[in-house]
Symmetry: C2
DNA sequence: CCCGCAACACATGCATACAATTCGCCGCGA
DNA sequence: TCGCGGCGAATTGTATGCATGTGTTGCGGG
């Protein structure tokens, strides 16, 4: 069914493309996102660009200032802390459900994902960043609860944006082993242990942040966007 | 500043009107929401109705079926359980922050709200239902964290919709004393106690549900919407 | 009487055109 | 030279019109 969802409307497609671009740090916090430039780049009219932006704004990934244009959100340090705290508590629920009964199939999917992360650890950085986030989303998905999935997704995305703003250029790929540890603990059925490891994992991720604000805006966001746009534009 | 926000665009206005209508059970789960009927009723074009519906869909209050019309969401029993569970854990954070240092001003605002609830307990039911929900939102607001506010808001709304679907016509207003108890415990600074009471409160709210699906659709949703539409339409 | 098919009506998907607002800039006057 | 007021460019806000896809209904054949 997830494959069928690929067939849906343009605005969702573009929304996803922009989201990926933000998560993979091709679009950095604070970058402006004018509607018609984006429309031209994606080969669509402003109508659906607007829809996509509005949705991303609802998710907290972009800021929509009245009559002054959209921009990638720039979360404050306080927001970052709150985001990670809430995410930790939300993922507690995910871990608890998974740890109290992990099926063989679920285990297999998690192992497969970890293998992908490992394979990507040598490759391009955007990919490994995205995979690290998607591990958490996969866990939420495996609970079978749309509610948990939705909120873990959104919080993970926002945390990803936060890291994009506050952490150093490179700070990922150390998390793979931690993901493995979480899976192992869940496999044992030890809810408390799994939860402890997951909390420690998120804490270590967030503590890797808050270093410097990084030098952004070295080049046009339009160029940064090209690889994301081509996939959508080609769908004409 | 909240007053300035009143001046923003139509779609937000309409979005808020629809949300209130859903929360106050003027629009019941499953009711269809065709774009052009709504547009006519609110005196706006389909464009902004669409925006409002799309946003409500993102919040989980509306279901948007492809080419088959929008409708008020009909959460399943499982979703209801997940929603309340996640909401409980999220409000834990709110309670913890408030209980660890409640200012006099914060206390005053909460007391004022409880007084409003009390005053409304004899009045029209929609109002007291809304006030009960808004007490929780006010607590989140008083933490000063936009993140907590946003998610408590959304989860509270969705829980309200859930209650609209599963609970009996009347089951509110017994919660006022519980709200008072929460405030008292927070005032003492006893985080654990406050958390316990808040959890019990939410549990009792959710357990009051699951009675019957109620008889819905007795009349046109257009009539049900009139009081909400007039406020927006008059803004021309 | 039932089944299949085709045309219609309804509802959304999308693009274009127009209106309103904001911000920056330039000229004018003190 | 500095402050101020108005004008213009740019960008968003809103409406309308056409295209597309889906469900339904009515007709004809078996």
């Amino acid at each position: 069914m997830a494959r069928a969802a690929t067939q849906k409307n343009r605005s969702e497609l573009i929304c996803g493309a922009l989201r990926s671009a933000i998560l993979e740090r091709a679009l950095l916090p604070g970058m402006k996102l004018p509607e018609d430039s984006l429309g031209e780049r994606f080969g669509s009219s402003r109508t659906i660009i607007r829809q996509a932006l509005e949705r991303l704004a609802a998710e907290g990934l972009v800021e929509l200032r009245h009559n002054k244009g959209a921009a990638v959100a720039t979360p404050s340090l306080e927001e970052a802390r709150d985001l990670f705290e809430l995410r930790t508590h939300t993922e507690d629920l995910v871990i608890a459900r998974l740890a109290s009964g992990l099926s063989a199939q679920q285990k297999a999917r998690l192992e497969e994902h970890i293998a992908q992360e490992e394979a990507a650890s040598d490759g391009p950085e955007p990919l490994s960043i995205r995979l690290a986030t998607e591990f958490h989303i996969l866990m939420a998905e495996l609970t079978g609860s749309p509610v948990l999935l939705r909120y873990v997704k959104e919080l993970s995305y926002r945390c990803g944006l936060t890291l994009s703003q506050f952490s150093r250029p490179h700070s990922s790929n150390c998390g793979i082993q931690e993901h493995r540890d979480i899976l192992a603990a869940m496999e044992e059925g030890d809810v408390e242990k799994a939860r402890g490891i997951a909390r420690a994992h998120l804490d270590s991720v967030s503590s890797r942040a808050q270093f410097d604000t990084g030098g952004k805006n070295g080049f046009s966001y339009l160029d940064a966007l090209e690889p994301y746009a081509s996939g959508v534009r080609g769908a004409d």
